[in-house]
Amino acid sequence: MKVHQVPQDDSILEGHSRACYAQDGNGQYLITKSRGWQVEAIANRQALSDVEEKIAQAARDVGEGRASPLAFHMACFHMNAGLLAAHTGIWSLRIRRHLRPSVFARLPDRLLQRYANAFGIALSSLKRGPNSGQEAP
Protein backbone atom coordinates (compact mmCIF):
# COMPACT_ATOMS: atom_id res chain seq x y z
CA MET A 1 0.00 0.00 0.00
CA LYS A 2 1.26 3.46 -0.90
CA VAL A 3 0.94 6.42 1.42
CA HIS A 4 -1.59 8.14 -0.84
CA GLN A 5 -3.77 4.99 -0.79
CA VAL A 6 -4.13 4.97 3.00
CA PRO A 7 -7.88 5.39 3.51
CA GLN A 8 -9.20 8.44 5.35
CA ASP A 9 -12.88 7.52 5.57
CA ASP A 10 -15.41 8.24 8.26
CA SER A 11 -15.35 5.13 10.33
CA ILE A 12 -15.56 3.78 13.84
CA LEU A 13 -12.59 5.60 15.36
CA GLU A 14 -14.56 8.56 16.77
CA GLY A 15 -12.00 11.11 15.66
CA HIS A 16 -8.98 9.02 16.67
CA SER A 17 -6.67 7.74 14.00
CA ARG A 18 -4.86 4.46 13.64
CA ALA A 19 -1.32 3.75 12.49
CA CYS A 20 -1.02 2.10 9.08
CA TYR A 21 2.12 0.89 7.36
CA ALA A 22 2.46 2.31 3.85
CA GLN A 23 5.24 2.99 1.35
CA ASP A 24 6.44 6.40 0.23
CA GLY A 25 7.55 7.21 -3.33
CA ASN A 26 10.84 5.37 -2.83
CA GLY A 27 9.21 2.21 -1.56
CA GLN A 28 10.28 3.01 2.00
CA TYR A 29 7.80 1.93 4.68
CA LEU A 30 6.40 4.61 6.99
CA ILE A 31 3.80 4.68 9.71
CA THR A 32 0.94 6.78 8.38
CA LYS A 33 -2.19 7.92 10.17
CA SER A 34 -5.56 6.72 8.94
CA ARG A 35 -8.83 8.26 10.11
CA GLY A 36 -10.55 4.99 9.28
CA TRP A 37 -11.65 2.79 6.44
CA GLN A 38 -15.14 2.25 5.10
CA VAL A 39 -14.38 -1.45 4.77
CA GLU A 40 -13.67 -1.88 8.49
CA ALA A 41 -16.76 0.17 9.30
CA ILE A 42 -18.93 -2.21 7.26
CA ALA A 43 -17.45 -5.30 8.92
CA ASN A 44 -17.75 -3.70 12.35
CA ARG A 45 -21.40 -2.77 11.70
CA GLN A 46 -22.19 -6.37 10.74
CA ALA A 47 -20.68 -7.61 14.02
CA LEU A 48 -22.41 -4.94 16.10
CA SER A 49 -25.76 -5.60 14.44
CA ASP A 50 -25.52 -9.21 15.66
CA VAL A 51 -24.90 -7.98 19.20
CA GLU A 52 -27.70 -5.43 18.96
CA GLU A 53 -30.08 -8.09 17.67
CA LYS A 54 -29.24 -10.27 20.68
CA ILE A 55 -29.86 -7.33 23.02
CA ALA A 56 -33.18 -6.48 21.34
CA GLN A 57 -34.26 -10.12 21.44
CA ALA A 58 -33.35 -10.36 25.12
CA ALA A 59 -35.27 -7.16 25.87
CA ARG A 60 -38.34 -8.60 24.14
CA ASP A 61 -37.98 -11.88 26.01
CA VAL A 62 -37.74 -10.08 29.34
CA GLY A 63 -40.66 -7.80 28.49
CA GLU A 64 -42.85 -10.76 27.59
CA GLY A 65 -41.88 -12.78 30.63
CA ARG A 66 -39.86 -15.42 28.78
CA ALA A 67 -36.50 -14.47 30.30
CA SER A 68 -35.15 -12.81 33.42
CA PRO A 69 -33.41 -9.40 33.44
CA LEU A 70 -30.14 -11.31 33.67
CA ALA A 71 -30.54 -12.37 30.02
CA PHE A 72 -30.73 -8.72 28.99
CA HIS A 73 -27.62 -7.65 30.91
CA MET A 74 -25.71 -10.65 29.62
CA ALA A 75 -26.45 -9.57 26.04
CA CYS A 76 -25.51 -5.95 26.79
CA PHE A 77 -22.10 -7.05 28.01
CA HIS A 78 -21.49 -9.31 24.98
CA MET A 79 -21.56 -12.39 27.14
CA ASN A 80 -23.02 -15.87 26.99
CA ALA A 81 -23.56 -18.11 29.98
CA GLY A 82 -20.05 -19.56 29.67
CA LEU A 83 -18.32 -16.17 29.76
CA LEU A 84 -20.53 -14.93 32.59
CA ALA A 85 -19.66 -18.10 34.49
CA ALA A 86 -15.97 -17.25 34.11
CA HIS A 87 -16.60 -13.74 35.42
CA THR A 88 -18.75 -14.73 38.40
CA GLY A 89 -17.55 -18.18 39.36
CA ILE A 90 -21.16 -19.37 39.14
CA TRP A 91 -21.62 -22.55 37.13
CA SER A 92 -23.05 -21.91 33.69
CA LEU A 93 -25.84 -24.48 34.17
CA ARG A 94 -26.89 -22.55 37.24
CA ILE A 95 -26.69 -19.30 35.28
CA ARG A 96 -28.96 -20.79 32.64
CA ARG A 97 -31.51 -21.56 35.35
CA HIS A 98 -31.25 -17.96 36.55
CA LEU A 99 -32.33 -16.83 33.09
CA ARG A 100 -35.84 -18.08 33.94
CA PRO A 101 -37.92 -15.24 35.42
CA SER A 102 -39.50 -17.39 38.14
CA VAL A 103 -36.12 -18.63 39.38
CA PHE A 104 -34.51 -15.19 39.12
CA ALA A 105 -37.29 -13.59 41.20
CA ARG A 106 -36.46 -15.85 44.15
CA LEU A 107 -32.69 -15.30 44.13
CA PRO A 108 -31.18 -13.76 47.27
CA ASP A 109 -29.52 -10.34 46.95
CA ARG A 110 -26.22 -11.89 47.99
CA LEU A 111 -26.16 -13.95 44.77
CA LEU A 112 -27.53 -11.15 42.60
CA GLN A 113 -24.80 -8.88 43.89
CA ARG A 114 -22.21 -11.21 42.35
CA TYR A 115 -23.80 -10.65 38.96
CA ALA A 116 -24.01 -6.89 39.54
CA ASN A 117 -20.33 -6.81 40.53
CA ALA A 118 -19.29 -8.73 37.43
CA PHE A 119 -21.08 -6.21 35.21
CA GLY A 120 -20.11 -3.22 37.32
CA ILE A 121 -23.72 -2.07 37.68
CA ALA A 122 -25.99 -1.38 40.66
CA LEU A 123 -28.05 -4.17 42.15
CA SER A 124 -31.21 -2.18 41.46
CA SER A 125 -30.36 -1.87 37.74
CA LEU A 126 -29.64 -5.58 37.60
CA LYS A 127 -33.10 -6.35 38.93
CA ARG A 128 -34.87 -3.89 36.64
CA GLY A 129 -33.35 -5.10 33.37
CA PRO A 130 -34.27 -3.36 30.11
CA ASN A 131 -36.45 -0.74 31.82
CA SER A 132 -33.58 0.52 33.94
CA GLY A 133 -32.11 2.66 31.20
CA GLN A 134 -28.99 0.62 31.84
CA GLU A 135 -26.95 0.07 28.71
CA ALA A 136 -23.60 -1.55 28.28
CA PRO A 137 -20.90 0.86 29.52
Partner: protein
Protein backbone atom coordinates in the same frame (compact mmCIF):
# COMPACT_ATOMS: atom_id res chain seq x y z
CA UNK B 1 -7.01 0.94 48.43
CA UNK B 2 -4.20 3.28 49.36
CA UNK B 3 -3.57 5.83 46.64
CA UNK B 4 0.16 5.91 46.04
CA UNK B 5 1.02 8.99 44.05
CA UNK B 6 3.95 9.08 41.69
CA UNK B 7 6.60 11.39 43.20
CA UNK B 8 6.95 13.53 40.10
CA UNK B 9 4.44 14.19 37.34
CA UNK B 10 5.04 11.06 35.31
CA UNK B 11 6.17 11.34 31.73
CA UNK B 12 6.42 8.68 29.10
CA UNK B 13 7.67 8.90 25.56
CA UNK B 14 4.48 7.86 23.78
CA UNK B 15 4.80 6.62 20.19
CA UNK B 16 1.83 5.79 18.01
CA UNK B 17 2.06 2.21 16.72
CA UNK B 18 -0.12 -0.20 14.78
CA UNK B 19 -0.25 -3.19 17.09
CA UNK B 20 -0.70 -3.20 20.85
CA UNK B 21 1.74 -5.93 21.89
CA UNK B 22 4.69 -5.11 19.66
CA UNK B 23 4.04 -1.39 20.14
CA UNK B 24 3.97 -1.68 23.93
CA UNK B 25 7.10 -3.83 24.04
CA UNK B 26 8.96 -1.50 21.67
CA UNK B 27 7.95 1.43 23.89
CA UNK B 28 9.26 -0.28 27.03
CA UNK B 29 12.53 -1.12 25.27
CA UNK B 30 12.85 2.47 24.10
CA UNK B 31 12.23 3.73 27.62
CA UNK B 32 15.20 1.62 28.72
CA UNK B 33 17.43 2.90 25.94
CA UNK B 34 17.03 0.22 23.26
CA UNK B 35 15.68 1.96 20.20
CA UNK B 36 13.99 -0.48 17.81
CA UNK B 37 11.05 0.15 15.53
CA UNK B 38 7.73 -1.55 16.21
CA UNK B 39 8.20 -3.55 12.99
CA UNK B 40 11.59 -4.81 14.20
CA UNK B 41 10.15 -5.88 17.54
CA UNK B 42 7.28 -7.59 15.73
CA UNK B 43 9.66 -9.43 13.41
CA UNK B 44 12.21 -10.40 16.05
CA UNK B 45 9.34 -11.72 18.17
CA UNK B 46 8.08 -13.73 15.15
CA UNK B 47 4.69 -12.04 15.33
CA UNK B 48 3.44 -12.91 11.87
CA UNK B 49 1.31 -16.02 11.60
CA UNK B 50 -2.01 -17.34 10.41
CA UNK B 51 -4.40 -19.41 12.42
CA UNK B 52 -7.90 -20.63 11.63
CA UNK B 53 -9.64 -22.74 14.27
CA UNK B 54 -13.21 -23.38 13.15
CA UNK B 55 -14.01 -25.46 16.25
CA UNK B 56 -12.96 -22.74 18.72
CA UNK B 57 -15.84 -20.30 18.82
CA UNK B 58 -15.61 -16.78 20.18
CA UNK B 59 -19.16 -15.50 20.64
CA UNK B 60 -20.35 -17.98 17.97
CA UNK B 61 -17.67 -17.14 15.39
CA UNK B 62 -14.57 -19.21 14.58
CA UNK B 63 -11.20 -18.11 15.91
CA UNK B 64 -9.08 -16.46 13.23
CA UNK B 65 -5.76 -14.78 13.85
CA UNK B 66 -3.24 -13.17 11.55
CA UNK B 67 -0.52 -13.28 14.18
CA UNK B 68 0.87 -15.58 16.82
CA UNK B 69 -0.52 -16.17 20.31
CA UNK B 70 -0.77 -13.17 22.64
CA UNK B 71 2.40 -12.69 24.72
CA UNK B 72 4.46 -14.79 22.29
CA UNK B 73 6.00 -11.71 20.66
CA UNK B 74 7.15 -10.34 24.01
CA UNK B 75 8.45 -13.68 25.25
CA UNK B 76 10.48 -14.42 22.11
CA UNK B 77 11.58 -10.83 21.67
CA UNK B 78 12.87 -10.61 25.24
CA UNK B 79 14.81 -13.85 24.89
CA UNK B 80 16.38 -12.88 21.57
CA UNK B 81 17.31 -9.37 22.65
CA UNK B 82 18.82 -10.43 25.95
CA UNK B 83 16.15 -8.63 27.93
CA UNK B 84 15.18 -9.85 31.36
CA UNK B 85 11.52 -9.29 32.04
CA UNK B 86 9.68 -9.63 35.29
CA UNK B 87 6.22 -11.01 34.54
CA UNK B 88 3.67 -11.44 37.31
CA UNK B 89 0.05 -12.52 37.36
CA UNK B 90 -2.25 -12.04 40.33
CA UNK B 91 -5.14 -14.00 41.69
CA UNK B 92 -6.35 -11.16 43.89
CA UNK B 93 -7.31 -7.94 42.04
CA UNK B 94 -6.56 -5.75 45.05
CA UNK B 95 -3.04 -7.13 45.29
CA UNK B 96 -2.62 -6.75 41.55
CA UNK B 97 -3.57 -3.08 41.71
CA UNK B 98 -1.32 -2.46 44.71
CA UNK B 99 1.61 -4.02 42.87
CA UNK B 100 0.94 -1.68 39.94
CA UNK B 101 0.86 1.35 42.27
CA UNK B 102 4.15 0.33 43.84
CA UNK B 103 5.88 0.10 40.46
CA UNK B 104 4.50 3.46 39.36
CA UNK B 105 5.56 5.06 42.65
CA UNK B 106 9.20 4.25 41.88
CA UNK B 107 8.81 5.55 38.33
CA UNK B 108 8.82 2.17 36.59
CA UNK B 109 6.49 2.03 33.56
CA UNK B 110 4.65 -1.28 33.48
CA UNK B 111 3.14 -3.29 30.64
CA UNK B 112 -0.27 -4.81 31.32
CA UNK B 113 -2.57 -7.26 29.60
CA UNK B 114 -6.19 -6.10 29.57
CA UNK B 115 -9.67 -6.81 28.22
CA UNK B 116 -10.68 -4.20 25.65
CA UNK B 117 -14.36 -4.30 26.55
CA UNK B 118 -13.74 -2.65 29.91
CA UNK B 119 -11.50 0.21 28.73
CA UNK B 120 -13.69 3.33 28.58
CA UNK B 121 -11.34 5.36 26.40
CA UNK B 122 -11.86 2.97 23.46
CA UNK B 123 -14.32 4.09 20.77
CA UNK B 124 -17.63 2.55 21.72
CA UNK B 125 -18.02 0.51 18.54
CA UNK B 126 -14.64 -1.12 19.07
CA UNK B 127 -15.34 -2.45 22.55
CA UNK B 128 -15.66 -6.20 22.15
CA UNK B 129 -14.75 -9.00 24.53
CA UNK B 130 -11.08 -9.50 23.75
CA UNK B 131 -8.62 -10.09 26.57
CA UNK B 132 -5.28 -9.89 24.75
CA UNK B 133 -4.83 -6.11 24.64
CA UNK B 134 -1.51 -4.68 25.85
CA UNK B 135 -1.11 -1.23 27.31
CA UNK B 136 1.54 0.56 29.39
CA UNK B 137 0.82 2.36 32.66
CA UNK B 138 3.32 5.12 33.42
CA UNK B 139 1.68 7.10 36.19
CA UNK B 140 -1.27 7.81 38.36
CA UNK B 141 -3.13 11.01 39.12
CA UNK B 142 -5.81 10.88 41.77
CA UNK B 143 -8.17 8.14 40.71
CA UNK B 144 -6.94 7.94 37.10
CA UNK B 145 -4.14 5.88 35.67
CA UNK B 146 -2.02 7.49 32.97
CA UNK B 147 -1.67 5.04 30.12
CA UNK B 148 0.34 4.83 26.97
CA UNK B 149 -1.84 2.72 24.69
CA UNK B 150 0.24 2.56 21.55
CA UNK B 151 -2.69 2.04 19.19
CA UNK B 152 -3.84 5.56 20.15
CA UNK B 153 -2.10 8.70 18.86
CA UNK B 154 -1.76 10.14 22.32
CA UNK B 155 -1.61 9.07 25.95
CA UNK B 156 -4.94 8.32 27.62
CA UNK B 157 -6.39 8.20 31.14
CA UNK B 158 -8.37 5.41 32.70
CA UNK B 159 -10.25 5.38 36.02
CA UNK B 160 -8.87 2.85 38.53
CA UNK B 161 -12.08 0.86 38.74
CA UNK B 162 -12.26 0.34 34.97
CA UNK B 163 -8.60 -0.59 34.77
CA UNK B 164 -9.04 -3.18 37.51
CA UNK B 165 -11.97 -4.68 35.63
CA UNK B 166 -9.95 -4.73 32.39
CA UNK B 167 -6.90 -6.34 34.03
CA UNK B 168 -9.00 -8.98 35.73
CA UNK B 169 -11.40 -9.65 32.88
CA UNK B 170 -12.29 -13.32 32.54
CA UNK B 171 -12.85 -15.81 29.76
CA UNK B 172 -10.58 -16.80 26.86
CA UNK B 173 -7.04 -15.39 27.27
CA UNK B 174 -7.93 -14.04 30.72
CA UNK B 175 -5.11 -11.59 31.61
CA UNK B 176 -5.15 -12.50 35.33
CA UNK B 177 -3.67 -9.09 36.07
CA UNK B 178 -0.48 -9.67 34.07
CA UNK B 179 2.16 -7.00 34.73
CA UNK B 180 5.58 -6.92 33.13
CA UNK B 181 8.57 -4.62 33.22
CA UNK B 182 12.23 -4.70 32.31
CA UNK B 183 14.55 -5.90 35.03
CA UNK B 184 17.75 -5.67 33.02
CA UNK B 185 18.93 -5.85 29.45
CA UNK B 186 22.05 -6.81 27.54
CA UNK B 187 24.15 -3.72 26.82
CA UNK B 188 24.95 -4.82 23.27
CA UNK B 189 22.20 -7.14 22.06
CA UNK B 190 23.15 -9.12 18.98
CA UNK B 191 20.54 -7.66 16.64
CA UNK B 192 21.68 -9.66 13.61
CA UNK B 193 21.27 -12.90 15.49
CA UNK B 194 17.91 -11.82 16.89
CA UNK B 195 16.64 -10.90 13.42
CA UNK B 196 17.81 -14.21 11.98
CA UNK B 197 16.16 -16.17 14.79
CA UNK B 198 12.95 -14.21 14.33
CA UNK B 199 12.88 -14.90 10.61
CA UNK B 200 13.66 -18.58 11.06
CA UNK B 201 10.82 -19.15 13.50
CA UNK B 202 8.29 -17.38 11.28
CA UNK B 203 9.40 -19.27 8.17
CA UNK B 204 9.10 -22.55 10.00
CA UNK B 205 5.74 -21.73 11.58
CA UNK B 206 4.26 -20.50 8.30
CA UNK B 207 5.46 -23.50 6.28
CA UNK B 208 6.17 -26.49 8.48
CA UNK B 209 3.46 -27.00 11.08
CA UNK B 210 1.93 -30.35 10.15
CA UNK B 211 -1.62 -29.19 10.93
CA UNK B 212 -3.81 -27.94 8.12
CA UNK B 213 -5.09 -24.98 10.17
CA UNK B 214 -1.92 -23.03 10.81
CA UNK B 215 0.42 -20.97 8.69
CA UNK B 216 -0.02 -21.08 4.93
CA UNK B 217 -2.14 -24.22 5.29
CA UNK B 218 -4.44 -22.27 7.61
CA UNK B 219 -5.03 -19.68 4.88
CA UNK B 220 -5.92 -22.51 2.49
CA UNK B 221 -8.27 -24.00 5.08
CA UNK B 222 -10.00 -20.64 5.49
CA UNK B 223 -10.29 -20.33 1.71
CA UNK B 224 -12.06 -23.71 1.60
CA UNK B 225 -14.40 -22.71 4.40
CA UNK B 226 -15.28 -19.31 2.88
CA UNK B 227 -16.50 -20.98 -0.33
CA UNK B 228 -18.80 -23.23 1.71
CA UNK B 229 -20.28 -20.63 4.10
CA UNK B 230 -23.13 -19.53 1.78
CA UNK B 231 -24.12 -23.19 1.25
CA UNK B 232 -23.94 -24.23 4.91
CA UNK B 233 -25.62 -21.37 6.72
CA UNK B 234 -28.06 -18.50 6.37
CA UNK B 235 -27.04 -15.46 4.33
CA UNK B 236 -26.85 -13.39 7.49
CA UNK B 237 -24.64 -15.89 9.30
CA UNK B 238 -22.32 -16.17 6.29
CA UNK B 239 -21.96 -12.38 6.19
CA UNK B 240 -21.17 -12.34 9.91
CA UNK B 241 -18.50 -15.00 9.43
CA UNK B 242 -16.98 -12.96 6.63
CA UNK B 243 -17.12 -9.74 8.65
CA UNK B 244 -15.26 -11.52 11.44
CA UNK B 245 -12.36 -12.31 9.10
CA UNK B 246 -12.18 -8.72 7.87
CA UNK B 247 -12.24 -7.38 11.43
CA UNK B 248 -9.37 -9.62 12.51
CA UNK B 249 -7.47 -8.44 9.45
CA UNK B 250 -8.12 -4.70 9.63
CA UNK B 251 -9.96 -3.48 12.69
CA UNK B 252 -8.00 -4.70 15.65
CA UNK B 253 -4.74 -2.86 14.97
CA UNK B 254 -2.65 -4.76 12.46
CA UNK B 255 -1.09 -1.90 10.52
CA UNK B 256 -3.10 -3.05 7.49
CA UNK B 257 -3.59 -6.36 5.66
CA UNK B 258 -3.39 -8.47 8.80
CA UNK B 259 0.18 -7.47 9.79
CA UNK B 260 1.51 -8.21 6.28
CA UNK B 261 2.53 -4.57 5.67
CA UNK B 262 4.22 -4.33 9.04
CA UNK B 263 6.14 -7.52 8.36
CA UNK B 264 7.16 -6.18 4.95
CA UNK B 265 8.59 -3.14 6.75
CA UNK B 266 10.50 -5.51 9.04
CA UNK B 267 11.85 -7.49 6.06
CA UNK B 268 13.15 -4.23 4.60
CA UNK B 269 15.02 -3.39 7.80
CA UNK B 270 16.21 -6.98 8.09
CA UNK B 271 17.59 -6.85 4.56
CA UNK B 272 19.75 -3.86 5.46
CA UNK B 273 20.89 -5.32 8.79
CA UNK B 274 21.82 -8.72 7.40
CA UNK B 275 22.97 -7.42 4.02
CA UNK B 276 20.65 -9.79 2.16
CA UNK B 277 19.01 -8.17 -0.91
CA UNK B 278 16.77 -11.24 -1.17
CA UNK B 279 14.93 -10.05 1.94
CA UNK B 280 14.24 -6.72 0.25
CA UNK B 281 12.70 -8.63 -2.65
CA UNK B 282 10.66 -10.68 -0.18
CA UNK B 283 9.46 -7.42 1.34
CA UNK B 284 8.25 -6.19 -2.05
CA UNK B 285 6.50 -9.52 -2.67
CA UNK B 286 4.79 -9.40 0.70
CA UNK B 287 3.66 -5.81 0.04
CA UNK B 288 1.94 -7.03 -3.12
CA UNK B 289 0.35 -9.89 -1.22
CA UNK B 290 -0.83 -7.40 1.40
CA UNK B 291 -2.55 -5.48 -1.38
CA UNK B 292 -4.40 -8.71 -2.29
CA UNK B 293 -5.49 -9.15 1.32
CA UNK B 294 -6.83 -5.59 1.21
CA UNK B 295 -8.67 -6.44 -2.02
CA UNK B 296 -10.18 -9.44 -0.23
CA UNK B 297 -11.43 -7.08 2.49
CA UNK B 298 -12.85 -4.62 -0.06
CA UNK B 299 -14.75 -7.31 -1.96
CA UNK B 300 -15.87 -8.91 1.28
CA UNK B 301 -17.26 -5.60 2.52
CA UNK B 302 -19.13 -5.11 -0.75
CA UNK B 303 -20.65 -8.54 -0.32
CA UNK B 304 -21.64 -7.79 3.29
CA UNK B 305 -23.23 -4.49 2.32
CA UNK B 306 -25.06 -6.25 -0.46
CA UNK B 307 -24.02 -4.22 -3.46
CA UNK B 308 -22.06 -7.07 -4.97
CA UNK B 309 -25.14 -8.64 -6.53
CA UNK B 310 -28.35 -10.40 -5.58
CA UNK B 311 -28.69 -13.22 -3.10
CA UNK B 312 -28.70 -15.80 -5.87
CA UNK B 313 -25.13 -14.96 -6.86
CA UNK B 314 -23.79 -15.09 -3.29
CA UNK B 315 -22.08 -18.49 -3.64
CA UNK B 316 -20.22 -17.18 -6.67
CA UNK B 317 -19.12 -14.08 -4.76
CA UNK B 318 -17.85 -16.17 -1.83
CA UNK B 319 -16.12 -18.42 -4.32
CA UNK B 320 -14.21 -15.51 -5.80
CA UNK B 321 -13.19 -14.39 -2.28
CA UNK B 322 -11.96 -17.91 -1.70
CA UNK B 323 -9.86 -17.69 -4.87
CA UNK B 324 -8.15 -14.53 -3.59
CA UNK B 325 -7.31 -16.33 -0.34
CA UNK B 326 -5.86 -19.30 -2.21
CA UNK B 327 -3.72 -16.91 -4.19
CA UNK B 328 -2.52 -15.23 -0.97
CA UNK B 329 -1.69 -18.66 0.45
CA UNK B 330 0.40 -19.82 -2.48
CA UNK B 331 2.19 -16.50 -2.80
CA UNK B 332 2.97 -16.42 0.93
CA UNK B 333 4.40 -19.91 0.61
CA UNK B 334 6.74 -18.58 -2.08
CA UNK B 335 7.78 -15.61 0.06
CA UNK B 336 8.60 -17.67 3.12
CA UNK B 337 10.49 -20.22 1.05
CA UNK B 338 12.50 -17.36 -0.42
CA UNK B 339 13.21 -15.99 3.06
CA UNK B 340 14.24 -19.43 4.28
CA UNK B 341 16.60 -19.79 1.34
CA UNK B 342 18.13 -16.36 2.00
CA UNK B 343 19.11 -17.14 5.60
Amino acid sequence: MSALESPTPARFDHVHAAHCESGAFAALLRHHGLNLSEAMVFGIGSGLFFLYLPFVKIYDLPLISYRDMPNAIIARGARRLGVKLVRTRYRDPERGMRALDQMLAIGQPVGMQTGVFWLPYFPRDMRFQFNGHHVIAYGRQDNDYLLSDTVFEDVVRCPADDLRRARFSKGPLAPRGLLYYLESRAQQPDIERAVRAGLRTTVSRMLNIPLPLMGVAGIRALAGAVAKWPLRMSGHAARSHLANVIRMQEEIGTGGAGFRFMYAAFLDEASAILGRPALHEASAMLSDIGDRWREFAVQGAQLIRGDGGKAGTAPAAYKSLSVILLECASREREVFRAIGAAL
